[in-house]
């Protein structure tokens, strides 16, 4: 940007452009809009200088990138991905542990339930067995009593029925004695009683 540069070749018309030493070109007067100037990118006398600086700068850059910057960035990225995968692994492991603990809990819960059910079933079975036994004793007792009552009733009925025959015989003999004045023959009476279906 410096309009005047003391370090350039001390030409009378000191311009800031690089002028080839042997050049007799006089395009040093660089008036605004002066289209007589050579096209800077094609001024071949600057090429060697530019290539030297390019080689130095790019060589330095390549050295810095390949020896320092890129290995470091790669290390950072590797470190991060390693750490991420390690963290993920750990999370996975913890999840597996939690799952195992959950499964164990479920298992013990199921076992406890099964046990409780077993106990309940046992108790129910015992109780119902006891109740059954009691009921059976009771039923047997009741049946016995019923049978006894039945027997009594049948005995009484038979007894009563026996009495009915003797009463009927006595009544019949009394009626016949009253009507005829003489007691009927007991054999006849018995035959008559036998012939009466209601008395048998």
């Amino acid at each position: 940007m410096a309009e005047k540069n003391p370090l350039t070749t001390p030409s009378p018309n000191a311009d800031t452009k690089i002028v080839p030493p042997g050049s007799t070109q006089t395009h040093t007067e660089h008036a605004p809009g002066g289209h007589g100037a050579a096209f800077p990118p094609f001024e071949s006398h600057t090429f060697l200088s530019q290539l030297i600086w390019l080689a130095l700068a790019f060589g330095l850059l390549y050295y810095l990138m390949s020896k320092v910057a890129l290995p470091r960035i790669e290390a950072i990225l590797n470190d991060r991905s390693n750490r991420l995968s390690a963290d993920l692994d750990q999370a996975q492991r913890m999840k597996a542990e939690a799952d195992a603990a959950g499964a164990a809990y479920e298992k013990s819960l199921r076992e406890a339930q099964a046990k409780a059910q077993g106990i309940a079933q046992d108790t129910r079975n015992t109780l119902s067995a006891e109740a059954d036994a009691k009921r059976k004793t009771l039923e047997a007792e009741l049946n016995q009593r019923l049978a006894a009552s039945d027997a009594t009733i049948r005995a009484r009925t038979a007894e009563a029925m026996g009495n009915v025959r003797s009463i009927a015989g006595e009544t019949a003999s009394a009626i016949v004695e009253r009507l005829t004045g003489q007691a009927p023959d007991p054999a006849t009476l018995n035959r008559a009683l036998d012939a009466t279906p209601a008395l048998n």
Partner: protein, 251 residues
């Protein structure tokens, strides 16, 4: 300093320290060289100083450095496969160097180093020499397979091989001219349109038209930023593609 309306003036080299001559070559530490070292300094700042913490959770600059690294590493990996990793420093250096120099050139009054063909040609030469030297060292004469497309009938090879040779030889030229021409043309266009604004403003009633070139200048500036980044990417990608030839000749 006097305002120059010459759109070419911005590309002139200003010697800061003159170091004498070799033949007719003038050796001087110019502003161009200064910009190159400034670019190296900026890149070192970004990739070395910003990552010195080596933090697992990166700060902004470290995140930027990591993003750039992964971007170029992906590009190289896609073009060359796993073996291309050894060329990552080269491609990364080229990409960052071109990118930072292009962007530095976008600062008003700054100098665009990449607008000089010899610089871009020097970078392209680095690429092509790497391809040739590595290719020959690794594959010997098999490297010549790069000129013989596979699966082509024998008679066609008579035509194809010269085409491939020309295409190979034109690579350093196309690589360097593409970058140089983009940056040069962009800066000239910017300067011309910006100067239109001034010209219209001092032309009396025509001054009402001055917003038009101003808008165009603004749009061009945005475009030039895109070009600055895009050309750096193109340079890096093509480098990776050419390096793939060195790794696998006979495509």
């Amino acid at each position: 300093m006097a305002v120059s309306v010459d759109p070419i003036h911005q590309f002139e080299l200003q010697p800061l320290v003159s170091l004498g001559h070799i033949g007719n070559q003038q050796i001087a530490f110019t502003q161009s060289a200064l910009y190159m070292f400034v670019a190296v300094g900026i890149i070192a700042l970004l990739t070395i100083v910003a990552t010195s913490g080596r933090s697992v959770v990166p700060g902004r600059l470290q995140a930027l450095a990591e993003t750039l690294y992964e971007f170029i590493a992906d590009t190289v990996h896609q073009a060359t496969g796993a073996e291309g990793k050894r060329f990552l420093p080269l491609v990364f250096s080229l990409f960052m160097f071109v990118l930072i120099l292009n962007l530095l050139g976008m600062i008003p009054y700054a100098f665009a180093v990449t607008s000089h063909l010899i610089v871009t040609f020097g970078l392209a030469l680095v690429v092509i020499l790497t391809v040739v030297i590595y290719g020959v060292a690794k594959h010997g004469t098999h490297f010549l397979g790069v000129f013989v497309p596979s699966g082509v009938p024998k008679p066609l090879l008579l035509i194809m091989v010269p085409i491939e040779i020309v295409s190979f030889l034109s690579r350093p030229i196309s690589l360097s001219v593409r970058l140089f021409a983009n940056i040069l043309a962009g800066h000239i266009a910017l300067k011309i349109f910006a100067f239109f604004v001034v010209q219209l403003l001092v032309a009396g009633a025509w001054g009402v038209l001055s917003p038009l070139p101003l808008a165009l200048t603004i749009a061009l500036t945005a475009l030039e930023f895109l070009v600055a980044a895009l050309q750096a990417y193109v340079f890096a990608t093509l480098t990776a593609v050419y390096l793939a030839d060195a790794l696998h000749p006979g495509h």
